[in-house]
Symmetry: C2
């Protein structure tokens, strides 16, 4: 919680009183490794701050194949936004990779906070803007870069992933099969 407080203060002016009101809405929770924090078909009810751990988001194709869409790391806000905003069932699974400690706020509480505290609208806007930047960058990467370039980007920007996540999930994040990734790694080394 300490960490979330610091992170928010870097971005917005939040009074001690507003922080107490806002932070009181969060509940702590811990998931063991390899457990679902959200399954496809469920509705995302929480906006979550990751205190420690790594979470993987993926979708499942009709044939059972998984496509990894993204990850959430410690110090991030995470959420299946498409379900959280629209209140429709999620198409994504969210699964912990390592043991994950988090703080989360329920959708209903968040709406109350939006109405009650002006600073929360501001926080929500800035958090969404940051996620939009990440998604725009990824769109550009998928459109203009080769699989090999995306692999090297991942290697340099998120080396910690390679310690926890099986290569097959990184392959599907890059947009290729595990076999293709294996050959890229062989070619490079």
């Amino acid at each position: 919680m300490q960490r979330m407080h610091e992170l928010l203060r870097q971005q917005v002016n939040i009074t001690e009183e507003d922080w107490r009101t806002f932070s009181a809405c969060f509940e702590p929770k811990t998931y063991p490794a390899k457990t679902f924090y959200l399954q496809a078909g469920e509705t995302e009810n929480y906006l979550t701050f990751v205190e420690s751990g790594v979470v993987r988001f993926y979708v499942e194709a009709a044939n059972g194949d998984e496509t990894t869409v993204g990850f959430a790391f410690d110090g991030w806000f995470m959420c299946v936004y498409s379900s959280f905003y629209t209140r429709e069932p999620s198409r994504y699974y969210g699964e912990t990779i390592t043991e994950t400690k988090l703080w989360r706020i329920h959708y209903d509480d968040m709406q109350r906070m939006y109405d009650r505290l002006r600073v929360v609208d501001r926080i929500g806007r800035l958090a969404t803007e940051q996620m939009l930047l990440i998604k725009s960058e990824r769109e550009l990467s998928l459109l203009t870069k080769t699989a090999e370039e995306r692999y090297l980007d991942l290697l340099s920007k998120s080396p910690q992933l390679f310690r926890y996540v099986p290569l097959k999930h990184l392959a599907s994040y890059i947009g290729i099969t595990p076999q293709a990734l294996s050959r890229i790694r062989k070619r490079i080394s």
Copy 2:
């Protein structure tokens, strides 16, 4: 402006007074067809509401190839968000396809509005959330669908594009070359 007012009122409670204050910051502008509203290297200074017309966003590769990243239609807010938020030069070009009438607000005025009117924080948050939904959908499409599926999606969801935009730009939006799109169209028909 009428249209923007209606659109906003569908989403937030905005008082007449706040609307007058906010809308007074917007200036009208008209671009002929095939002109740049923003070039790569420039910083995006405006958040823009498209009154009528179609705008294409693209990036240019080292070899001169263009990759179309997206479009903006009438009734949309448009912006090169990555440049607008970060105040860094844009890597995207924004070029009108048809004559385009728009209303725009300068970055500095928008920041003033954020501080002055609470409802603008709310509007900014909701607008960003919607763009994030669009980008998330596109990410999923690029990761899990074939070029042919993306072509058919575009055909059913945005048929108006086919009236204005050369196929080569739709091809690069789909993520393939004009030749490959030509063959897909032949195969399907």
